[in-house]
Amino acid sequence: MTTYNNTYAQQIYSVLSPLVGEFMAKGVLKSQVQRIGKTEEAIVKEDLPHLADGICKGLVVFVGTDVAQKVAAKIKSF
């Protein structure tokens, strides 16, 4: 079980891990924060919409737009 010193990173990980598994949740979070030029520990509230959109884009192929957007909305609400 991965833990982060950043509340937002931990919350995003908690939403993703039941869905895509712990290893992939960690990988997805890492790739998305790298995309916006940050680290997991440096996520701030303003980053959430960008991270949510990136995660939504990746989830679409598995669960469709509707469910992926629900996950994104959840992340944006943190």
Binding site: R35, V63, D66, K70
Partner: protein, 271 residues
Amino acid sequence: MKKTTQLWIFTALIMLFNLFIFLTKVGGERLLLYVSDLLPVLCAIVAFIYLFKAYQQFKEFDFAKTSWLLTFIGVGLFFVAESIYALLEIGLGNDMNENFPSIADYVWCVGYIPLFSGMALMFYGYKKGGFPMGNTKVYGFLSVVIAIIAFAVIVFLLIPIIKDDETDLLSKVFYLYYPVGDVLLVIPALILMYITSLFGRSTISMPWRLLALGYICFTVADLLYSYLSWQDLYGSGNLIDLAWNFGYLSIALAGSYQMELMKSLNERVDL
């Protein structure tokens, strides 16, 4: 009991029944013929139904819905082909080796197009989504595996069939189409198999994993069928029938897992 659990039990029972009939030959050649021709029809219709149920769970016409629709159409065509084959052999008493290629073969060949397109679309959608692709060394290894499979198919199957003077041109086209189609289908299947391994045992990856497994079963069965049929060694009740039946039921299970995944996500109150 969950629908998926019921389907796993059904799959196990079908496989055991198929194996029992094949090994004991109880009921003689006639029953073997009926089982060999009708079980694939049953397995294909089960896959067809579960794929439709999975397809129905998607609300918007996006990558996911389109790829499941293409898979549904492909398996639907395979079901039609299996039914025609059974009708020709059981109903009309045709010798399928003598009458190769039959109408069923034309339908099977068309069915490969949506199956491959659906699989390729899933891979493209995943790549476009920007999720982790995994280790590049593994892709190198997969490329070597695919190259070895392709080389073996070309050397041991394609070239001998092309050089065979006793086989007419139309039969050659079909004998060649199946292995080539299968190798093309197994490439995205192997890649998706690797990608889903990155997800551990999560529910989101189970449908893709089972789809890939189903296509790999088809590939193994088809390659053996092409070789045996070309050598006039294929008869009803061959052991490779199990791979086709398990392939269909794996695809049915993929549809069932996708349906349950979508239902559980739509019902989750925390999303």
